[in-house]
Amino acid sequence: MSTQQTKWFERKFDFSSEQNIFPSILERLRGTPARLEEKTNAIGDHVLNLKVNDSWSIKENIGHLIDLEPLWMGRLEDILNKEIYLRAADLQNQKTDQANHNARTVTDLLNEFRSLRASTVKRLELLSDGEIFLCALHPRLKSPMRMMDHFLFVAEHDDHHLVTINKIIQSSHNS
C-alpha cells in the first residue's frame, strides 16, 4: 500500500449525522488505551524515543494524547455551559514539545493515559440524549460542533496518532 495518510490539519470531517451514534463513538474512545498498549508492548526504549525526521517519538505521541485530554474535557464543559465558542487549542502544541515525555517510561505514560481516558468515558456515560446534541462553534473550523461531533473528532484524533505510531514502528524496521 503506497497510500499516504491525510495530514491532521487537512482532514475534513462529516458532522452531518442526525442520528445518535454516540454509543459507537464512546466505544471507540474506550478502546484507545488497549490499542496503544498492544502497539507499544515489547518495543525497546530506543524505538519508543526515536524521533523520525525530528518529529515526535512514540512516547511523545502518547504524551500528546495525555496533554490534550483536559482540552477535550474543557470543551465538554464549554458545550454544557452554552459558550458560543469552544476553547482554543494550542496549535503549536507547546505543551507536548516542552513536556519531555521521552524522559518518562512508556508504562508510566500509558497508565496516565488509561486513567485520564477512563475518567473521560465515565463522564461521557452520564450525558443525556439532549446534551449529546448541544453545540458550540469550533474555534479553528468555525463550524458548529455538537457534543457528539466533538467526541467523534477526539476518536479520529486518537486514530491519527495511532497511525503515526505505526509509521514510526515501520520506519524503525526499515532503518
Partner: protein, 167 residues
C-alpha cells in the same frame, strides 16, 4: 443503546488517503475484543439475553462478515457490478471456547488487512454496488463500513456485559 445497524445512515466516498486510519481501526478491533472478554465467565459469554445474540455469536458474526468482506474486495477489484450479499444469523458459536471464536475472527481479519495493504491507488478507486444499500463502494469505503460495523457490535457486547453485571 446502539442504533439498529440497518437503520444507520451511512455516507461513502472516502479518499485513498483515509485508508491507513480505517485499517488501524480494523486492526484495533482484535485487541478491543480480547480486552472485553478477558476474565468474563464462559456462561456470560454464551448466554442469549432476550433471545439476542450472545457475546460469542457477536464475535463469530464479525468473523463471518470478514469472509464476505474478503470476497467483496476481490469483486470490486475484478469489476463485478454488484457485490455479494451480507451474512445474517451466525452459526452456533456458544459451545466454542471464546479464545477459539476470537482466533477465528483474528484469522479472517488479518487476511483482510493483508489484502487491503496490497492494493494500489488505482485499485482503491474502483467500486461496485452494495446489494442492500444500493450505493457504489470502493475498498476504502468498505474498510470504513466494516470499522463502523465492528463498533456497532462492540457496543452490543458492552450492553450484554453491563446487563449481566446489573443482574
Amino acid at each position: 443503546m446502539a442504533l439498529p445497524w440497518f437503520e444507520r445512515n451511512l455516507r461513502f466516498g472516502y479518499s485513498p488517503e483515509m485508508l491507513p486510519f480505517f485499517l488501524e481501526r480494523l486492526e484495533g478491533t482484535m485487541i478491543r475484543l480480547g480486552q472485553k472478554v478477558k476474565g468474563i465467565d464462559n456462561k456470560v459469554l454464551s448466554s442469549r439475553l432476550n433471545d439476542k445474540w450472545s457475546v460469542k455469536e457477536n464475535i463469530g458474526h464479525l468473523a463471518e462478515v470478514d469472509e464476505v468482506a474478503n470476497k467483496r474486495i476481490d469483486e470490486i477489484i475484478s469489476g463485478v457490478i454488484v457485490m455479494s450479499p451480507a451474512v445474517f444469523e451466525p452459526q452456533d458459536y456458544n459451545p466454542w471456547p471464546v479464545e477459539k471464536v476470537i482466533d477465528f475472527f483474528k484469522k479472517n481479519r488479518l487476511s483482510n488487512l493483508a489484502k487491503y495493504k496490497t492494493l494500489s491507488n488505482e485499485q482503491l478507486k474502483k467500486s461496485s454496488l452494495h446489494p442492500r444499500l444500493k450505493v457504489q463502494m470502493t475498498p476504502v469505503d468498505l474498510a470504513w463500513f466494516d470499522a463502523e460495523h465492528d463498533d456497532h457490535h462492540l457496543v452490543k457486547i458492552n450492553e450484554i456485559l453491563q446487563l449481566t453485571h446489573s443482574k
